[in-house]
Symmetry: C2
Subunit: 239 residues, 2 copies
Amino acid sequence: MDTPHAHPAGTDLASVARLLADGTRASFCVALLDGRAWTATELARHAGVAASTATEHLNALVRGNLLAEERQGRHRYVRLAGPHVAELIEGLAAMAPGRASPPRSLSAAGRRKALAHARTCYDHLAGAVAVAITDTMTERGLLDWEHGLRLTGDGEAWLGRLGVTVPAGTRRPSVRSCLDWTERRSHLAGAVGAAMCRHAFDAGWITRIGTTRAVAVTAAGRQALRDHLGLPAELLSRK
Amino acid sequence: MDTPHAHPAGTDLASVARLLADGTRASFCVALLDGRAWTATELARHAGVAASTATEHLNALVRGNLLAEERQGRHRYVRLAGPHVAELIEGLAAMAPGRASPPRSLSAAGRRKALAHARTCYDHLAGAVAVAITDTMTERGLLDWEHGLRLTGDGEAWLGRLGVTVPAGTRRPSVRSCLDWTERRSHLAGAVGAAMCRHAFDAGWITRIGTTRAVAVTAAGRQALRDHLGLPAELLSRK
DNA sequence: TCGATGCTTCGGCGCCTGCCGAAACATCGG
DNA sequence: CCGATGTTTCGGCAGGCGCCGAAGCATCGA
């Protein structure tokens, strides 16, 4: 070897980072942030590359343990390998250059606006709505940031009144903050964030817009958030 | 452009990841995980590249806001841009291929062993010792993982008896868990972790081994950890 | 003022890797 | 069994990027 001590710990770090360093692979991962499984062809079309190219990228991502795959007949379904991957990707994206490049088309502008308003982030809620919810929960003493983020007793009771049940006994932290890449503020993640998001879907408070990550708050959802958190309607209705 | 909708959100994610996707740049960042400022030449020699090459890499890393720089005379000092960068890098490294490549030389083996035992991770303590401290603090009810990680009342009192003072009023979470890339377990980070590490240096409980990230626990340190945490001596002495 | 040292700029070289299309293979629905 | 559709393999091409050395600039110490 010609280098003194060939990057002792640098190489393995680089090998992981390299997986996300390509625009197409990154585009796959961002798409998969919705927490659902996509087929290889869907991802290829989404990123605008040939199917053969997508195959090679997926091989790399699966091999690198960023994605998990599942074969069903002639379809190859892939999804993020776990919440830690989603958090890593969000953390990386939050560090991106501050200047959000202006959208180039009207439909892109609308899409961006919908995403900024409310969207899923792996398995919990993100966007302006999620940040507002998190802020209000903090103001009302449901969340405590004093010594690390935690759910207060009031918070537990409040969740119970909402009908949200959090699966217990897992190693996953029950509350966690996740940096929002549109708002640049924290929103609620972790097991509680996921349970709240799931419950909001089940109760019909939010619905997916088409097949994207963007979600819309329904009339019932606005009502529920006003009743339980006192959130003003104008914050929740998209113009 | 020849692609349908040129990676809307993928590009900025990729541009950040690309910075860490090169072995040499990654090697710089891993070196800087010790939290100190290095000169360009030091990093170049460390990674085994020409000074001109290092300059270009540093330009990229500073431009991408991963590193902060400070000019002093003819020296260019760089350091990580903040704790969030250190956490990102550790998170990425923790995802690296499980098989730790066996060290190729005796000195490398010794170095690796020292690092695995106790080292600094940006501004707090990592390695087997740090994991043991964190575990014991949990067992003794000083830390509570129930609803997100937090310091208990007992924990605060315990810190006070140790003489550790934590700067208050910052936005930085006071306790945080950081995934250890040698132990694959969590250790204590955040403002409290940093304050404890700083206090341990000041009190002479630990000292740096040469100019590396590895640290040694002194006799006084073993005594202190036994008195305050009941940690067995054999855990703290390197063989 | 003058050498030594640290850093930067600039060409130029070579490899790595992402891309495609064509062809083969696998699966599904009849 | 057969066409349609999803996926994979394989060449081959082209651009990007990391590397170096030489030369130039800035700063330090004397």
